[in-house]
């Protein structure tokens, strides 16, 4: 072993691959811009219409919308971007290069997930700014920071689901599949319109969806409600999605 050999590369490879992902975003920021445009624009429209009305919880609607549309915005970017980028990497052959290298599977998957976080962070920063501009200071800084942290962490299982799809589907198919997963979950979890306005069968389906549990966890940061069941549901989702992504990577055809 030569003097240039360094310690086992798990963490170092993770760092390198995260840096590669971030460089891709910084050097071609167009994808980042358009990823956040739709959820932020959608939110701006609704919060300007209803933001100053009181919600049933007593909080301004703008505050609860920050939690539910924040969930939608974070989930949309975390679910769409890693999978489509991964499918593109498979198409170009870059994934094959990584697969025959000494990169541990956990480092490659972990880096893809972490590299999706800037999208989510930008979405949340934009939503907070829009909320402040339209409805004023409806939440304290501490609550906002806690909400952002919870949504970023809670978005991780969606990035893993995205990767599992990206490891098996073509870029076009991945986009179609992930959209087909995203929008029904968003609607059936009450992220665009409150569940109270939804038909009963959708209200019955909602507790089986991870998006619902993330939005309830986000709302709990505002109301102080107990969210233990929501955390557990998200942990189970993370474990299942992680196992699925790991299996898909190990059996990757490149």
């Amino acid at each position: 072993m030569s003097a240039m050999t360094v310690a086992a590369p798990g963490v170092r490879v993770l760092g390198v691959e995260v840096a590669e992902g971030l460089r891709a975003i910084l050097r071609e920021p167009t994808a980042l811009f358009f990823s956040v445009l739709f959820p932020v624009g959608f939110f701006a429209m609704f919060v300007s219409l209803f933001g100053n009305q009181p919600a049933p919880s007593g909080l301004p609607v703008a505050a609860t919308m920050l939690a539910t549309y924040g969930t939608y915005g974070v989930v949309s970017v975390m679910l769409m971007n890693p999978g489509i980028r991964t499918a593109e990497d498979r198409t170009t052959g870059w994934m094959r290069v990584k697969k025959v290298s000494g990169a541990p599977v956990g480092a490659t998957i972990g880096a893809k997930v972490i590299a999706a976080l800037p999208y989510a962070l930008l979405v949340m920063a934009a939503l907070v700014a829009v909320t402040a501009a339209v409805a004023g200071p409806v939440l304290g800084i501490g609550t906002i920071l806690r909400l952002v942290a919870v949504l970023l962490l809670g978005g991780l299982p969606f990035a893993l689901i995205s990767l599992a799809v990206g490891f098996v589907a073509s870029p076009n198919a991945a986009a179609a599949i992930l959209n087909a997963v995203l929008f029904p979950m968003v609607i059936a979890s009450g992220l665009w319109f409150p569940l109270d306005y939804m038909p009963a069968f959708i209200q019955n389906v909602a507790p089986f969806l991870p998006t619902y549990h993330l939005s309830q966890l986000a709302l709990a940061q505002l109301t102080g409600a107990d969210a233990t069941a929501n955390v557990l549901a998200l942990l189970v989702t993370t474990a299942v999605a992680g196992a699925l992504a790991g299996w898909a990577y190990r059996n990757l055809r490149v």
């Binding site: 030569s2 240039m4 050999t5 360094v6 310690a7 086992a8 590369p9 170092r12 490879v13 760092g15 390198v16 691959e17 590669e20 460089r23 891709a24 050097r27 071609e28 990497d89 198409t91 170009t92 052959g93 870059w94 994934m95 094959r96 290069v97 990584k98 697969k99 025959v100 290298s101 000494g102 990169a103 541990p104 599977v105 490149v254």
Partner: protein
Amino acid sequence: MDEVLRIAGVHHRYGLVQALSGVELDVTPGECVALLGPNGAGKSTLIGLATGLLAVQEGEVRVCGADPRRAATRRHLGVVQQSMGLPRTLKVGELVRGAAARAGRAASAAGPVLAEVGITELAGRRSGKLSGGQRQRVALAMALVGEPDLLLLDEPTTGLDVTARRAFWRTITARRDAGVGIVLTTHIVEEAAAVADRVVILHGGRVVAVDTPAALSALLPDRTISARTGLDDVALRAFDGVLSVRRDGDRVRVATAVPETVLRAWLSADDTLTDLRVEGAGLEQAMFALTGEDIPGHDEKTEVSA
């Protein structure tokens, strides 16, 4: 160290298609082995197993004594593929430093390898702005930066011009001389003949011959007559004893087991005949004879100086 690559009793299927049947192959440190064979012979499957991309169905595959499906084992490997997909947003230096990290080497290992491959001046250029030949040199640098014990080269010189090919093989043979084991697939038979210590000819998923390039070439009593001529291929094939006719630029190459008979007929029929040479059968003819099939792209002109 014993073998850097050991393939023992390997069978592999894709559904109903038997891709490999009982393949045996050992590669020792400092040895270059070329895999030759027509399309579908099993070369890519063998490379896929050695790189860990494919799971072994039956038999044993070991790289430096360990399972190549494990990431730690693959740190002994350097791989150059025909068309390396490099992210267009990353710069050459970043790619090679990243490859060093994946192989467990310090980022400082990148500089000497960039110099060895002759692309130091490209270090700050994004891969999206590289030519095909430059990308292959970056791929080589990425393969070498981990100081591999085994290099797997899958059609590595596709897209390189003659000068770049010479430089490529100089680098590879220097590594071989330093003790690195090399497995090469190529459709350019002259390359295999020039750099390989042993040639493995695959056909239908089976190893049909293993020997030195010279020994395999000597299997055939045939000769090749090459010349410049005004005759077309139909006229040349009409001579008694002609086995095949090929064009190589402005030269024609005629294979035969009875060169004297063919030459008598050709000289009497062709006033335009010039620059006549008679040579022994080459590796390409040996492969053709052993497999009954041609190597795809065999007409590609090449010049190898290893």
